[in-house]
Symmetry: C2
Subunit: 332 residues, 2 copies
Amino acid sequence: MLVQRLLQGDRRAVARLISLVEDGDSRAYRYLTELYPHTGRAHIIGVTGAPGTGKSSLVSALAKVERRRGRTVGIISVDPTSPFTGGALLGDRIRMQDLTADRGVFIRSMASRGRVGGLAAATTDAVRVLDAFGKDKIFVETVGAGQAEVDIAKTAHTTIVVEAPGLGDEIQAFKAGVLEIADVFVVNKADRDGADKTVNALRAMLDLGTPIRARDGQAGDWRPPILKTIAIEEKGVEPLADELERHLAYLKSGDHLAARERERVADELETLLARELLADCLHRLGSDRIAQIVEQIANRALDPHSAAQLLARSADGIPVEGSAPTPAEARH
Amino acid sequence: MLVQRLLQGDRRAVARLISLVEDGDSRAYRYLTELYPHTGRAHIIGVTGAPGTGKSSLVSALAKVERRRGRTVGIISVDPTSPFTGGALLGDRIRMQDLTADRGVFIRSMASRGRVGGLAAATTDAVRVLDAFGKDKIFVETVGAGQAEVDIAKTAHTTIVVEAPGLGDEIQAFKAGVLEIADVFVVNKADRDGADKTVNALRAMLDLGTPIRARDGQAGDWRPPILKTIAIEEKGVEPLADELERHLAYLKSGDHLAARERERVADELETLLARELLADCLHRLGSDRIAQIVEQIANRALDPHSAAQLLARSADGIPVEGSAPTPAEARH
């Protein structure tokens, strides 16, 4: 029913399903299963970079260009560190105001409500919802450049890394492992002093980094272009949209897109599988047994690695709790 | 042997063991098991904040104060996003130069060499190594405020969140979920314009955030103090060290320290257990079977959530690969 409404273009159904996903509601998974055959058509674009680089403005400007080109757009703004509710990031709301009246655009903020590692998985699912909803271009904007961003970047076909001139310690920006995930670099706020310096520094890092990329078997013959934009004036954004198309065409040539998809699926499957296995195992062991083990570790009577191995083995095919060997036995 | 050398004060043994931990070398776990009974004495202090706040300078200054007070110090500098080797972050090296000649201080940088989620676990183990090595105060410095930082903060007894005036969009800094993890706030670079504004903004957020903390059952009657420092001039650092002591005393009063330790252990155990279970399961299923499933998901013949549930159930107590039901069977 929710799925039917969504496939028929009901925006409220989209919002509702994403909320279920965010809450980790078990109904979400049933709906996602139904939706899954309808996914796989959107071009998913990750946008990441340090605070203050103007990512939101850039995404807004890109969305407008795509709309002019006749594409529908989804925008997911992810804040891996906010414990607050998903719908209320004032800044994002203000920045994206221009777009909210356009029915061809769906905007959603997501925050970390649930458990560790849950946000990347929830974002993947939210992207999937917008994909099934028929959005042509889906932008996933993440704050910062931590592990969560790297995880989220993995769900994108094309990842834009945004820099801006004069954001303090330059080394910081380049330490961020972005070479591994960037398909396109953007130096935003390019009217500021030092824009060319930032471009040159990126180019130098790219020259240094190329062998690393090749060694990992990533990207191959794609060299990330470096573009200058002034997002709030919508300058340089058309050429950026062109580069996104060029990257998509590149992915579609040869096996690149399929290979990236397989990698993405394998990662996601591992994450979901680990979660299932852990939940099953904890359920079998029972909370008393777990509390007991935790106590022993806290008292230094058992170390965490040995405990994990022990529990993994003892939970194996033993549906009844209590039949696992005690840690003392296992130490001999 | 390595463990004996370490317990006798051999710094090279410490460096070697942390490298093994970082590499995920299986020998590391054996050594850690031996070391574990010698841990639990250090005061572990997490230091986190956005790039440009001066975390490294602050840690250096704190380390000097602790040394003057007769404590030995360990410093672990964590960069969750760098794909590069752990020992070579130029900036950190320069910033901590003053300390490297002091035998009472052990400094180590760690970067993300391995798998997702591996860094937080490796950091926990590295802290443990320095704890067993006898360091009184162990500072764990992390860049940024992403999920990795939150994970790492969980391993600390006391977490310092560092802010600085004038780092662009103020809202960004406060979105960072830091209220959940901060035991002490520091406004560093307090000689800059806007320092008091930052202090006031933090105080306002703290007033707003208090019910949230209480609801989660965290912290209880501890209200995080807000201190101003100028780390490079070593100003305000003595009072900060005093606050760290005060927080430790608070933790030791009542059940706080033990409760935090149990929470920490439970989290770590979950992470390690999930990893063990996943590795076992993938091993049993075999890579051909996994590749097959991944292909089916990529082709939209199966969705990832159903696949994960299926594999979790089929791997259950079936040590021989290939005997799991095919996804097609399982769908009926």
